[in-house]
Structure formats: C-alpha cells, structure tokens
C-alpha cells in the first residue's frame, strides 16, 4: 500500500484462477479518494441505467449484457499503478466513454422492437458499423447514429476477455470460416444468434478493414434487409486511399450515403451542424498532435491505453458530434501540460521507448499498462492512434461544402486500423520506421493478429527492416477476440522471453511477470 509510483507489487492484487482482483489499490490519501469518487460516479451511471425497466429487460434478454457487470473492473485494469495527472487523465477518458456507452445502450433499447419498441424514435435511428467513421452523420443533428456492434462485441471484449467466444462458436457452427478476424465473425455470430437489437430507419455498413468484415456485413445485412425490413447502404471506400485518382470516387460514395440517409429518414443534411462538428474534429486533432509531440520528448504524458482507447472512441465513433468530448480534450491537455512542466513520469523507471504497431488484442487492452509496470517499456503511441491529421474545412462557404465532401471521404478512408491495413506497404511498413525515428524509439512491439492477413503477410519485411535499422522488434501473436488461442499469459510470455533472453533484463515488477488470470474478466 503505497503513495509512491512503482512501490506496489501490482501482481499481488490478482488471485490465481480468480475472476476479480483481491482489492483495489491504495494510492495515498488524495489519489485514493479521487479514485473512490470516480468509482462512485461510475456506480451512479450504472445505477441510473438500471433504474429504467426497459434496460433491466434488455439485461435479461441479451447475453452480451452480462459483460457490463464488469465495468468497474475494466477501469481498475487501466488505472493500475497510476497516480496524479495520469490517473486523472485515465478517469476523464474512461468515465466519459462509460457514460457514452450507457447512453448508446439506452437508445438502442428504447428503439428495439423487442424491448422499448418506441417506433417514432426508431424512425430517427441510423445504424452504423462498429468499425466505421461516423463522418456521414455529422450533418444530421436530429438523427441518432447507433452502432449495435459497439456494445455487443467491441466493448464487451474490453470488459470481459471471454465475451466473444460464444458468438465466434455460433458463427463457426453455421459454417463461417474460422480463420478470419474474430471481430466481424463475432458480430455475425450475434446476428445469427438472434442477439442484436432490432431498430432503425436504415443502416450504413462499410468495407472496413478486411475479408472478415465483408463476411460479417454480408450475414448481418441480409437479416436486416430481408427479415427486419431495414435497408442497408454499403459504403465502399477505396483500398489505396493515399492515391489522388480514387478521391473523386470516395467523395461520390459519401454523397450517395448522405442521399440514402435522407431518402430513408426524411431528414435533410444540415451544413451548419456539419461545420460545427468539423471544428470539434479539428480541435481533437490539434490536441492529439500536442500529446504526440510531448511523447517525442523524454517525458511522454498521454500514452498507453490513455491514448489508444480514447483516440478510437473520439476519432471514429464521436467524430465531433458530441461536445462533451471537446471538454475532455481540453481537460486532458491541461493535465498533460501540467505533468510535463513538472517532468513527471507514470512509472518509477523508463527503460525502453516503444512504438506499438499492428492491431491490438481486445481481450488484453491493459497490456500497455502491463508493459510499463512490468518491464519499464513506454508505449509512446500505438498504430491505431496514428490517424488522419488533416485539418477539415470549418467555415460554411460554397467551396468548403465541396471540400467537406472530400474531407468526409478522407476520414472514412482513413478510419482507425483501415488507414494502415489498407493502403499498401507504404502506410503499414514504411511509415513505421519514420515514426520510430520521430519518437526516438528503440523498440517496436508488433502485435501479430494471426487472422489479419494484411499484417501477417509482411512479417519478414518488418524483420528485415528492423534488423537493418537496429531496432528491437518484439512480436506478440494473438487472436484479437479469442483468448482461447493465445491467452493473456501467452502474450506476457512472448515479451518476457524477449526481455530475458535477448535484452538480458530483469522485470521492474516481478509480480507481474506471470499472472494466472485465464478465468478473469
């Protein structure tokens, strides 16, 4: 029980084979009381959510809702060992995301034909993919853009490592390929298992990241259109998104998507609202660049899961549409600058500066905190946080309305993950080494998502280049949503082996080296 950073043996909080940790951390009086107050706020958010009978009804209808029992534990995992500004940055982000997801769930169940069945509300809902930029919704202030896959699969696996296993098995029982990405496969499994809320005037799907996502979209859209009567638009963004000659096509896809939404909801595109959202997107980009700029110095401030989870939510799912995220950006920047001015560190020792590349495993999102606490490896930035930095047109003029269409197309092409897994070797392979130089990194942790063919195909090329540049390249294999293939300890072992045999180092916190948390949420 210690106030100082790095004094606790964080592995001791785990009980072998247990589902939850023994107790919460003592972080000194001030930080413990702060963490406690945030825990109370989370409990109030959850309490408010279950006060509505329709949400309780949904809890007993949808299997994936059981994962939401683990919300406070998810926050505990990401705040492990954090003190001062880092703890506050983490809570600012996590608490806002929890609130946003609670509102998303509440809206889904309000319109769901099985639960709330509010038909008028449902007519104002546009369903979107989980892994899709919501840029085409920036000009529809009166419509609700809701993703069914975000709460049923994406967030569920962050809460409970085993959340997707049932749905992956259902999809494979019905003959879907077992070697595609488990994320779209689980999303398809939710649809096959009749476990997705049914609502909405229409839906927009996107050719997101891979063959697996096309597989999932095919299964889901068929049920939506033919059984639920919900028309679906396929937003097909170009693969080689950096090429100039594809941009006209990409812009036309955006115009078509907007026309489709207008047709099925009866609403009209609102330019004034679009440009308001664009200003907020630009502000978020400015803040993210400032944080990354700090991370190039010896005193990085917003990094690890504090950077990764928040960027994914703010950049892609929010896309300037919710003002509360602008407030959070401002608060995070203030805290980061405060800590930077005092040359603060998030752990007692920084040994290595690492770029985290590839697609991270969702069942182990707190791996970045583990890297820092166990081995002193600072995850300066991850691949999914290195997204578009383009400044969007934000003044409403006739020329800018045309530019805005291209801006939305650019954002859609450059959605998280897609901007690197699509676009060829330049964006996936070459730019990594530019980032290692810019961030003065001596190490690359390369998540090898074994079902992601775009990434694994370049395995040898990554190794060759790392050798040429003298960068330590540590491979971490995983299967994204399925810890039965490679467990969290299986992930640890890959790092532990490299650090002990190649680097000849001892862990900073040996209690974290082996954690028997296979049964844990």
């Amino acid at each position: 029980m210690a106030k100082e950073i790095g004094k606790d043996r964080l592995g001791d909080f785990y009980k072998d084979g247990g589902k939850v940790r023994k107790r919460r951390e003592w972080r000194g009086v001030e930080d413990t009381l702060y963490d406690y107050s945030r825990w109370l706020t989370i409990m109030m958010t959850l309490g408010k959510f279950v006060m509505k009978p329709r949400n309780v009804k949904a809890m007993f209808r949808y299997r994936w809702m059981a994962n939401y029992l683990a919300v406070p534990m998810m926050v505990d995992r990401h705040t492990q060992g954090l003190r001062g500004e880092y703890l506050r940055i983490c809570h600012t982000e996590q608490d806002l995301i929890i609130n946003d997801v609670a509102q998303l769930l509440d809206s889904l169940f309000r319109g769901d034909r099985r639960i709330g069945n509010d038909t008028e509300f449902s007519k104002k809902v546009v369903l979107v993919d989980e892994n899709e930029m919501t840029a085409v919704m920036m000009g529809f202030p009166t419509l609700k853009s809701l993703s069914r896959e975000t709460p049923s699969t994406y967030v569920s696996v962050l809460l409970n490592q085993h959340a997707a296993e049932h749905y992956i098995d259902v999809a494979q029982e019905f003959g879907l390929a077992g070697d595609v990405c488990p994320m779209p496969e689980a999303e398809a499994g939710v649809s096959i298992d009749d476990d997705a809320p049914v609502l909405g005037a229409c839906a927009i799907q996107c050719n997101t990241t891979c063959d697996g996502s096309l597989l999932g979209n095919g299964v889901i859209s068929r049920r939506l259109e033919l059984e639920d009567g919900i028309p679906v638009f396929q937003l097909a963004a170009p693969l080689r998104h950096r090429e100039e000659d594809v941009q006209d096509y990409a812009a036309q896809e955006i115009r078509n998507a907007i026309a489709f939404i207008e047709k099925h909801t009866g609403e009209k595109w609102d330019w004034e609202h679009y440009f308001e959202c664009a200003k907020r997107v630009n502000y978020a980009t400015k803040c993210r660049q400032e944080w990354l700029e700090m991370n190039r110095t010896p005193y990085p401030q917003v990094f690890g899961s504090n950077l990764a989870l928040y960027t994914e939510t703010n950049y892609m799912a929010i896309c300037g549409r919710i003002p509360a995220f602008e407030e959070a950006d401002r608060k995070i920047s203030k805290l980061a600058q405060q800590a930077y001015a005092k040359k603060k560190m998030a752990a007692k020792e920084y040994r290595h500066r690492a770029i985290i590349w590839g697609v991270q495993s969702h069942y182990y999102m707190d791996f970045l905190v583990w890297l820092l606490n166990c081995w002193g490896i600072v995850p300066l930035t991850d691949m999914l946080s290195l997204v578009s930095t383009r400044v969007l047109a934000e003044e409403d003029t006739p020329e800018n309305r045309e530019t805005a269409i291209y801006d939305m197309a650019w954002l859609t092409e450059n959605m998280i993950m897609r901007n690197r897994t699509h676009g060829g070797y330049k964006v996936l392979l070459n730019e990594l080494w530019e980032f290692t130089q810019q961030f003065n990194a001596d190490m690359v942790i390369l998540w090898e998502h074994m079902s992601c063919k775009a990434l694994t195909g370049m395995h040898g090329m990554f190794e060759d280049r790392a050798r040429e540049l003298g960068i330590h390249l540590v491979w971490v294999s995983h299967d994204l949503f399925d810890p039965r293939i490679i467990s969290r300890q299986g992930v640890h072992d890959q790092i532990n082996n490299y650090m002990r045999t190649v680097m000849r180092e001892e862990p900073i916190d040996p209690s974290l080296e082996v954690l028997h948390d296979e049964e844990s949420w």
């Binding site: 809890m59 059981a66 029992l69 683990a70 259902v170 019905f174 298992d193 009749d194």
Partner: protein, 59 residues
C-alpha cells in the same frame, strides 16, 4: 431562537452521521472490491438464464 439552533445542529449532526455511514460502507465496498466480487457471483446465473431463452438462431 435557541430551539431553532438546537434543531439545526441536531439535523446537521444526523446528516454528518449519515454521510459518514455512507462513506464507511461505500469505501469498504470500493476498497475490498466487494462490488466486483458480488457481480462475479451473479454472472453464472445470468449465463444459465441466457441459455434457456428461445431464439430464432439461423444464418
């Protein structure tokens, strides 16, 4: 006046006592992770319940 003051002080004392009780109980739950231990015990019953629900499972 005295009566009013006495009543106010009594009320304040009670409120403080309630607040202290609330803090002691919730902080104990928080620190010993009792909320998560309870929900972990509930989960298996919920999973059994989901298995019993009739569903229109198909491609």
């Amino acid at each position: 006046m005295n009566k009013v003051l006495k009543f106010a002080l009594k009320l304040l004392g009670k409120l403080l006592l309630v607040a202290l009780g609330f803090f002691v109980v919730t902080f104990t739950v928080y620190f010993f992770n009792l909320d998560m231990k309870l929900t972990a015990a509930i989960e298996p019953f919920l999973l059994k319940h989901y298995d019993r629900i009739e569903r229109d499972t198909h491609l």
